[in-house]
Amino acid sequence: MTKGYVVGKVADIPAGSKKLVEAGGRTIGVFNVNGVFYALRNVCPHQGAELCKGLIKPYVVSSGPGHFEYEREGEIIRCPWHQWEFDIKSGCMIIDPATRTKSYEVTVETFGVSVEEGDIVVHV
């Protein structure tokens, strides 16, 4: 059974940003990736760092030495400790998806108000 926790207003977390919240006794990072909200447990599966405090980055790829290209803008969080990269949308480590942190469903409840004033609800 999941329970919904209201963690803030849509306007609190503009696209490209994140907010750390408490829900169900856990610290959870809520991310706005291009207008869609995602939530990850704030614990890195590697050595337990506060994953959601890391840098939000694109996925850097390359067509050959010296070339850098950006993909998946704003979809990657790099753990603040050892810089492992995780997919914000799934909580999976990019190069080894079996290594993952818990991700939670997020909904926006508008109850007749504008989207900006709607509640962000994390389902834990």
Binding site: V60, S62, S63, G64, P65, G66, F68, W84, E85, I95
Partner: protein, 372 residues
């Protein structure tokens, strides 16, 4: 002919022939110089071959096994024919070599600032080896010497001799001005791939001639220290190939690490794989864990094989370096730290033995299955 003692004791195992990937055939300058252009021949006659004299000791005064092994003492003047016969009677026949990869002697070529001279010596050596060794015994396969100080000239030499049917690799010394993954060397790798020749890095010449100090901490004092430092130089080359993206650029290139130790590779791969998890985005052209490139593109020869204190550890380390695909037996004959094919390894299970003593080398060098 009498079989040497180890071969007798291990008759069963060595009933099968093997491939030895590192045999130092002698390359006496009095014969090699016949292949030099006149100007350089005159120069060698007048001034000597400009060999880098050893600043470190070796294991024996000559660096060779002491048993009158490496050269027939009676032969005077000793010709390459005599020497080839000697190698036949001491190595090729008693140790049942199906094939032996010749890696020659004297890598001074790789230390000389006079690059044209280095190139002339390399070419002369290649021609000498082809005519006086490879043509003498069909079991022998050769290595291309190049003036690695100049990649364009090196590529030219590879293109000149690389399609000789008995030439199976390009060889350089581990001592180098730049780590071998550097793009400076790309012309060499293009030529290697074009001729389907592995690029073999053989220990030696670190700290000699124009090559930088043998360790990052400068010059060591003793020969044993010099040997202890070998893995760090080779580790730098290995990491360089991987992180510079050479194997992405040249996916068909094969690199052989020779005589700088074997077991250090296990923790080196663990470390690179671990670092890659966090640092991948700094070199995004490195698309796989470094150990995967090792497995795909790198091979390592066995001598001088380290024997860990317990057997279980030995087996685990072999697994960690992907010995089943990547390890190739070699003797280093006739050098003093020679590894006997019968005695250097603890008993291996048959499948692994076959990979290490034959099939991995056959796959790498495109050598046929055993005759008969």
């Amino acid at each position: 002919m009498e079989e040497s003692e180890p071969a007798v004791k291990n008759k069963k195992r060595l009933k099968k022939t093997i491939i030895d990937c590192d045999i130092h055939n002698e390359t006496p300058m009095n014969e090699v110089k016949e292949y030099l252009p006149r100007f350089y021949r005159d120069m060698v006659d007048s001034f000597g071959a400009r060999n880098v004299s050893s600043i470190y000791l070796n294991g024996t005064p000559s660096g060779r096994l002491i048993e009158g092994e490496s050269r027939p003492r009676s032969a005077s003047p000793r010709t390459t024919k005599d020497i080839v016969n000697h190698y036949r009677s001491k190595l090729l026949d008693p140790f049942h070599l199906e094939y032996g990869i010749l890696t020659a002697s004297d890598y001074s070529t790789h230390t000389l600032p006079d690059i044209d001279f280095a190139a002339a010596i390399a070419s002369a050596k290649n021609d000498y080896i082809a005519e006086r060794w490879l043509a003498e015994d069909s079991r022998l396969k050769g290595s291309v010497f190049i003036p690695k100080q100049d990649p364009a000239l090196s590529a030219k030499e590879i293109n000149r001799v690389g399609s000789h049917p008995d030439v199976v690799q390009v060889i350089v010394s581990s001592g180098a001005e730049k780590p071998y993954g550097h793009r400076f060397y790309y012309p060499i790798y293009e030529a290697c791939v074009k001729h389907n020749l592995p690029f073999t890095i053989h220990v030696s010449m670190e700290g000699l001639g124009m090559n930088p100090a043998p360790t990052g901490a400068g010059y060591v004092t003793y020969y044993a220290e010099y040997r202890a430092a070998r893995p760090q130089v080779m580790a730098a080359h290995l990491a360089s190939f991987i992180y510079e993206g050479v194997f992405e650029r040249f996916p068909d290139l094969r690199v052989v690490l020779q005589e700088s130790g074997v077991m250090w590779i296990a923790p080196a791969l663990w470390k690179m794989d671990q670092d890659w998890k966090g640092l991948r985005h700094q070199t995004p052209w490195v698309k796989k864990p470094p150990s995967e490139y090792f497995r795909q593109n790198v091979r390592v020869t066995s001598q001088p094989l380290e024997i860990p204190p317990d057997r279980e550890l030995f087996d685990k380390l072999l697994t960690s370096i992907h010995a089943n695909e990547c390890l190739l037996y070699c003797s280093d004959y006739p050098h003093w730290d020679f590894d006997s094919p019968a005695k250097a390894f603890p008993k291996l299970e048959d499948g692994l033995w076959e990979r290490v003593f034959y099939q991995n080398a056959a796959d790498l060098y495109g050598l046929p299955q055993r005759k008969g």
